[in-house]
Structure formats: C-alpha cells, structure tokens
C-alpha cells in the first residue's frame, strides 16, 4: 500500500516536471530527438543533421547504390528558393513529403541552411511566409 502511494507521488511529481518540457528527448551526443510524427528541431543546421543528411549525407554529397540520392552540395537547382521549398513540402518520386511533419518556419530554416552551405551561396533568404504561400498554391491545385 505504501509503495503504491509512493508510486503515485513520484508519478505526480514527474508530471509536474515534464509538463513544460517540449516533447523531445536528448541523446548522449547532444541530439534532441522528437516524440512523435512531427520533428522538434528548429534551426536549419539541426534539421539538416536529423533529417536531410540521412539520405543526402552529412557533407551534402548525396550517395549512389542501385539508385542515387542527388547531392545538395554545389547544386544549381537551389538557385530559386521555391524549388527546395516545394521538394521539402511535397517530396518527389521516392523522397517523402515533409509538409505535415514540419512547420513553415522549420522548412524555411532548413532551406536557408542548405542554400548557404555545402558550396551553395544563395544569400536571398526564404521566409516562413514563402512556405505558407507554397502550401496555399498546392492546396489550390
């Protein structure tokens, strides 16, 4: 009986502790991991390191097996910000869409990160508003 009461107390204490914390969990290597379907990372660098580099590789060079992941490094297709926004939102061929896993702000952040790293130097920043507009355009299709 005492054990049960104690367990309830611990439970209540943990609830209080956990409530304000975001739905995320940290690894020893300092990664913040997500809790469910949507991603919790916010900066472009973090989003790249937790999503994009899985396929496009940490140096953005892409990879080739029976098929290929295209490189993001030195990629002229990134010149217009609208193109990577559309790819992240909707996916393309085998690339999964991320539109319902990432917010407008997250998509803008990761697109800006890719367009200014890995040998890309496109200084015009895309905004969350651009992503929102791209979503609306998609809805009207």
């Amino acid at each position: 009986m005492g054990r049960q009461a104690c367990r309830v107390l611990v439970f209540a204490a943990c609830c209080a502790l956990l409530q304000p914390v975001a739905f995320a969990q940290d690894t020893a290597k300092g990664r913040t991991l997500s809790f469910g379907y949507r991603f919790v990372q916010t900066s472009g660098e973090e989003l790249f390191a937790n999503i994009c580099q899985g396929c496009h590789m940490p140096d953005g060079a892409g990879a080739t097996g029976a098929g290929s992941y295209p490189p993001l490094a030195v990629n002229p297709n990134l010149e217009s910000g609208a193109y990577p926004i559309s790819l992240v939102l909707n996916g393309r061929r085998a690339m999964p869409p991320f539109g319902d896993r990432l917010s407008d702000e997250q998509i803008a952040a990761v697109v800006n990160y890719i367009r200014t790293h890995f040998g890309n130097d496109y200084r015009d920043r895309v905004t969350a508003r651009d992503v929102q507009d791209a979503r609306r355009k998609e809805d009207r299709k």
């Binding site: 690894t27 997500s34 097996g65 029976a66």
Partner: protein
C-alpha cells in the same frame, strides 16, 4: 427469421457441394460465400498451356522475383534473373556474426554476434493468414517456429507515466479492461443505459462485464484474488505453509487513461498481428536461401540495371557488373518481370507508357530503422521472466523485441533494441552514424532494462533509407496516390510487368511481394499462351 433461413440454405448448399465435389471444392465455395476469406492465395499457381519457348528476364531476386522465376521456370519458360546484391533474397535478409554491411555513404559495420545469434533487419514475422508465403515455406522445406507478438509479461513503457517505470502488459491490459468494466457496470446499475439496452440484456451485460473485467460480486474492480488472476499477484501462489497468494493493487482508471499506455494494446489486436505468427528457424533469410537453391544458374548477382527498353519483339535490359561498372552489358528476353523497388526504378531510363511512369513516380519510400544488440546474458529471461515478445515504449527506440528462440539458456542473447517505422525517430536515427545509433539504443533501452549498461557487448544498426539496394524500407502509398495510380502500376505495359510489395495491397509484407508476383505472371502467361 429471414437471416436464419438464409444461413440454413447456405449450409445445405455447402454440404451438398462437400458431398459431391470434395472438401477442397467446398472450401473454395465457402471462400466465395464469404466465410473463410482470410487470404487471396488459392493454392499453387497453375500455368497451363505451352509457353512455346518464350523467355522472361526477371529484375531483382527478392521474394517477388524468385517466386516469378520459380513458377515460370517450372511452367517451361526460359528464365534469367538479374540481382544487384552479391546475394539473392533482397529485403528477406538476416545479419549474423561475421557479416559485413556497407550502407550508403560508405559507413561499414561488421556484425560481431556470437555464432547462432542474428537479427532480421527487414521482415521478421509472418501472420498465419499469409497463406502464400506459408505455402512456399512448406514447399521449400523452411522450418518455422512461433513469433511471439504478445507476451503478457513484456512491458509497456511511457517516459511520462508511472515515474518512467515500465508496466507489465498483463497489468495494463487487465486494469484497462477492469476499470472500464466497473464503469460500465456502474452506469448500467444506475439505469443510465435503460434507453439503449433492454432490462434482460442489462442482466447479461453485467454478467459479461464481471467475467471479462475480473470484477467482484458487487461489480467492483479492486485488489482481490479475482483481479489478481488477470493482473498478477504481489505474492504468487506458493507451496507449503505460506502458500496463500496476495493480490496486487490495480491502477486507477484516470492513471491508466493519462498514461496513454492503452494505445499500444492495438499492437496485439489488429489483424496483421493476431496470433499465431511465425518466423523461420535460424533467420528470415532461410526463405530466400531456399528459393535460391531451387534456381541454380538462373540468378546473376552483382548486376546493376542501368536501363530497360522494349519494342514489339522483346525487352532489352542494360546493366553493369558492380565489380567492373565501366563495361556495359545487355540481356534480352521476350518478356520482363521487373521487381526493382520504385525508389530505384523511378530513376532508370525505362520505356513504358506515361501512366505507368506516373505511377512509378508517385510512391515515396518509408524510413525504418532496426538495431540488434548482443548482451552477455539473457537477463530479460533470467531477471524479468520475459520469454520472447515485444515491449513498447514512447522512447525513440519505440520497441524492444526479445528473441523467440533459444529460451532459458545460460548464454548470450541478441535483442532487437530498436524498431522505428516512419515516425520522426526513424529519420533521426537514419541521420546518425551507425555507431551512434547503437549507442543511443543502449542508452534509451537502459531506461527500461537497467541491465543494459553492464551486459551490453556489441550491436549493429540498419537504417533502410541508407540501404543501397532499396533506398528505403517499402513503398509508402498515400490513399490518393493509390486511387489514382495503383492500377496503372500493375498493368502489363507492352512486354513489361512490375511486381513486388509496392504492387500489392500488403505494403512492406513479404506476402504482398509473393501475391503480386503470382498475379503478374498469371496475367503474363495468359498473354503468352494466347498469342
């Protein structure tokens, strides 16, 4: 009354069919009347008629490709298979000690498991209603053993409930059922169901709730030897002087609800995961190996397809040997069964019509990660009495699956220390170097099994988006894409037909790959015999 009459008529009809045509005909009649519609598999395929020396080139030596090769060869076709990997099997795959695996990006892992221990990075369980796969296992002499999906003594775990302490599945299930039963019984006795349920049915309902929910004679769910029979004891029944059991304390309804552990119970309830499930003895790749043994000199490994062309006379496939990729090779045949995953096929020059091409381009590939961990001893059995089955958690590892074989030995063991499918965590783990995936799995897993820290020896992690021969786990059709494109994907286009789990309504299941291959070659054969 009408319904009764109908049942009687159906039953009479069935026994008549049974008496006149035998039990197999009765079975098929039953299937068409909707009694036994568990599988689309109607027994070994019969490709009757003369293929007149026709040749078929099959792309991919996974289960779809090898099913097609086996059956077409047996029907008299000239068959050849091109396979990208150095081994047949495709996603039907097992990693054992000594195996090396290089993923995209060049990260290489060597599996250091002890002899006899393994993980299945791809498919790992076979539902009893996957009758086609089971039939091939029988025909190819692949020994099966039970795969334990539900172990009542495994855990459900939430990092945000019960102080992060894992709960036995048995207790969560019993308490969820018991508390709901008590609530419904109370509501019934207060007359609140009078409009919806007749007095007579209310009496039966109360009896049912008492039995189903392990309630006492007053319809309460509380610490008693009745509830203990479902949720377990504080002190289990023993022998001798102090033999009497002590019941355990149920968890309150509100705590069960807020813990959200109930959401894992569907993993034991849905059609695909109902007992009985199976696994091949010794590893899932026993199936692929058994298929390959039937196809000597037919499969050419290390062949990377670079393009597929066709005209009215036949199909020409260009490919390279992965050891000398500069030298282009070609293979020709009258027909082609292509089982290359759409993730790869969508990138190849391929001469098919616009609608099939659009279908090939319409399917994203899911992410999934599996991590195998070897421990010095089977502490989950020795310390926690968990023999096989799966614990579910809200931690990023999502699942810990215990080996369903080699029970009760003083020996090392391998756990599946993580299995993520499609959630954000699958992507996050894919993005880590393999060693970091393994370290993270050990870290998170130790919240459920503290023994991890001292008993862990070695691990291996497979992230399916990094797997060179698939670039993803499986075809992840959206409902919209399936409605628009699925039929176009499955049509025969000139001399080419596609097969694989992506061309089935059972995505990511081996059964889907086999049923898709059987359907494709059935239609192909019909065309060949007719012309």
């Amino acid at each position: 009354m009408r319904e009764n009459a109908q049942i009687i008529r159906r039953r009479d009809l069935l026994s008549l069919i049974g008496a006149m045509a035998g039990s197999s005909a009765m079975y098929h009649a039953m299937t068409s009347l909707g009694f036994a519609a568990e599988s689309r598999y109607a027994g070994p395929i019969r490709l009757e008629g003369d293929p007149k020396g026709a040749s078929v080139l099959i792309l991919g030596a996974g289960l779809a490709g090898m099913t097609a090769a086996l059956e077409l060869r047996n029907a008299g076709y000239k068959v050849k298979v091109l396979e990208f990997n150095a081994r047949p099997g495709g996603r039907n795959w097992t990693l054992r000690g000594g195996d090396r695996f290089t993923e995209l990006g060049g990260f290489t892992q060597t599996c250091e498991f002890e002899d006899g221990l393994y993980i299945n990075p791809g498919p790992w369980r076979i539902p009893y209603h996957h009758r086609a796969l089971l039939d091939y296992c029988k025909r190819l002499n692949v020994a099966l053993e039970p795969f334990i999906q539900l172990n009542h003594n495994a855990y459900l775990h939430s990092s945000r409930a019960f102080g992060g302490s894992p709960q036995r599945i048995r207790a969560v299930q019993a308490d969820f059922r018991g508390q709901i039963s008590e609530l419904l019984a109370k509501t019934t006795k207060q007359g609140k169901l009078d409009e919806a349920v007749t007095r007579e049915d209310q009496e039966i309902l109360l009896q049912a709730l008492r039995s189903w929910g392990a309630l006492d004679s007053n319809h309460n769910y509380n610490a008693s030897l009745i509830s203990a029979e479902s949720r377990g004891y504080t002190r289990a029944p023993g022998g001798g002087l102090a033999a009497a059991p002590t019941p355990s304390d149920p968890v309150a309804l509100s705590d069960i609800l807020k813990s959200r552990l109930w959401r894992y119970l569907q993993n034991f309830a849905t059609y695909n995961f109902q007992t009985t499930m199976f696994q091949p003895v010794g590893g899932m790749d026993m199936i692929g190996r058994a298929f390959a043994k039937q196809l000597p000199d037919i499969i050419r490994c290390n062949a990377r397809v670079t393009g597929i062309r066709q005209n009215e006379r036949g199909v020409t496939v260009s490919y390279v040997d992965t050891a000398s990729p500069a030298a282009p090779l070609t293979a020709t045949a009258d027909w082609c069964v292509c089982t290359i995953p759409l993730s790869i096929l969508s990138q190849l020059p391929l001469q098919v019509g616009a609608t099939m091409k659009a279908a090939i381009d319409a399917v994203p590939y899911a992410g999934a990660v599996k991590i195998g961990l070897q421990f010095k001893r089977r502490f989950w059995e020795e310390d926690e009495a968990i023999y096989g089955g799966i614990s579910y958690t809200d931690l990023p590892i999502r699942q810990i699956a215990y080996p369903n074989t080699g029970f009760n030995r003083s020996s090392r063991g391998v756990l599946l220390g993580a299995y993520m499918f499609e959630g954000a965590n699958a992507y996050e783990f894919t993005a880590m170097p393999p060693a970091e995936r393994v370290a993270a799995a050990v870290d998170f897993g130790s919240a459920i099994h503290p023994q991890y820290k001292s008993e862990f020896e070695t691990g291996i992690a497979v992230a399916w988006h990094r797997v060179p021969f698939t670039l993803g786990c499986s075809g992840d059709w959206s409902d919209e894409a399936r409605a628009e494109h699925y039929r176009n994907l499955c049509q025969i286009d000139g001399r080419i037909v596609l097969a694989g789990e992506h061309a089935s309504a059972l995505p990511a299941w081996q059964e889907g790959a086999i049923l898709s291959a059987l359907d494709a070659i059935g239609r192909l054969h019909e065309r060949v015999v007719r012309t």
